[in-house]
Amino acid sequence: MTGEVGNNSFLRVEGITKRFGGFTALDKVSVDVVKGERFGLIGPNGSGKTTLINIISGVFRPEAGAIRFRGEDITHIAAHQRNRRGIARSFQIPRPFRSMTVLENLMVGQDFAAGDASLHSRDRAHAILQRMGLGAAANALAGRLSQVELRKMELARAMAAQPQLLVSDEAMAGLSSSEVDEVLDLLLGLSADGITIIMIEHIMHAVMRFSQRVMCLETGKIIALGEPKDVMANPRVQEAYLGA
């Protein structure tokens, strides 16, 4: 597990540029995420956060640049293969498999995950659900969950494939403050297990509490990267959020 290729190249984003027509969503973005890190990604709406996540998880292909994961260039491989290599994500707007139960939602991730089949059992899915506080909802239809349950299920489903890198895209949006704390504790627990986590979030106190490093994007460019306190104190970040 402890990188044959060195800890520093766990996830490497190299000069990623992504355009939608004439609009440049990401402009030569480069960053390294270290193994085991809790990495916060912030920025105003439309700054390119979700686009970056989509490129890391394989939903979009960049116009220029490369994504390396554990030393391997994964820029051009399909999303499902990245999932098998250990990159899992949740979605900003939950995307459950509505016709399935919560447990079955997790088993989709397990069915197609790489690795030992004995790990992909119903029991393990149950254990993940217990841990995420969804044990009681295991046999409920996913389409009927509440908002906070859907958020948790998104994370649980991502965990079912036993990822090494978890990308959480605004898992706390629209939740009450006690629910935010609940989800935050779950993420901190996963991090304690050694999973590297990239968290996109607008809720600042959550980002501050969670992240070891924070990166702020604005109009597709990195305007600050470093310790949470320093990034928050950065005048450009304050300007981006509050307006000049």
């Binding site: 939903v59 999932n83 498999f97 989709v108 991730g109 069915d111 197609f112």
Partner: protein, 316 residues
Amino acid sequence: MRGNDVAFAFGAMLFVAAAALTTFLVGNEYPFFAGYVILQYIVLAVAWTILGGYAGYVNFGASAFFGVGVYTSVFLAKAFGAPLLVQIAVAAAVGGFLGFAVGLLTLRMKGIFFSIATIAVTIIIDTFIVNWKYVGGAAGIQVVRPPTMAPFESYVKMLFVVQAILVVIAVATARYIQNSRIGRGLQALRDDELAAECSGVPTLKLKLLACVISGALMAAAGAPSPMYLQYAIPVAAFDLNYSVSALAMSLIGGTSHWLGPVLGAVLLGVTQQWLTVNISSAANVLLLGVMLVVFVVAAPRGIIGLFVRKKSEKTP
């Protein structure tokens, strides 16, 4: 699971044995002539469900695959005098290949665009056959049945048993898919393709697989048709009615379980045969339309949906 498999295998054998036995017990040929059509619709509906139900890609091109099966047989019979089993096997292979090609070209489209593309495929292949003189062109072609094989006393009775075996193959395939991770992957991509892909489901591969299997079974269902009718004509072989029937039977029976299209095909097939004999062949098209409307309104999950315990009633 294991016990279920044994029960299913036993049931399948019993079904084929019963079909074979009745051909010796019942002298009149008509019940087998009508029964063949119903069995053929079961294969079509079950095959349709694999792509249209499990994966949620609504295919209006069942008649394209059916017709390809018909004309594969016509060609093989005329060119090589190939026996029936070879006709069916090659038709299945051609249908599977066509499914792969159509899938590659159209599976990146979604919803109604995919469905329209499948209609276009039917028209293209139909036009091709209409202009292919060797297999009869627009005027159709007479097909001479080989002598009846022992132990069957008539060719139609033999075809009835052959189609019954195709039913078992189709149902066993659909059942296997439904209970395997392929089925769960298809269901996941039907619900949300992007989320499925990001959960590790190889969505394009699974959709292509569903296209190939569905296409192969539909073409196989059509392959014995020239021998059954002793005639083949594009207007009948590519009749849009096959597409509409396969879809209607699946939806009426319910697409969440392999038993759904079987029930739908039996219900509609039997009623259609009865109407054709007692009223007119046009009446069965009317019935199809009325039944579809009734079920979409009253039982959107089909017959099977009325029996399968609703998971949705359990709330967390």
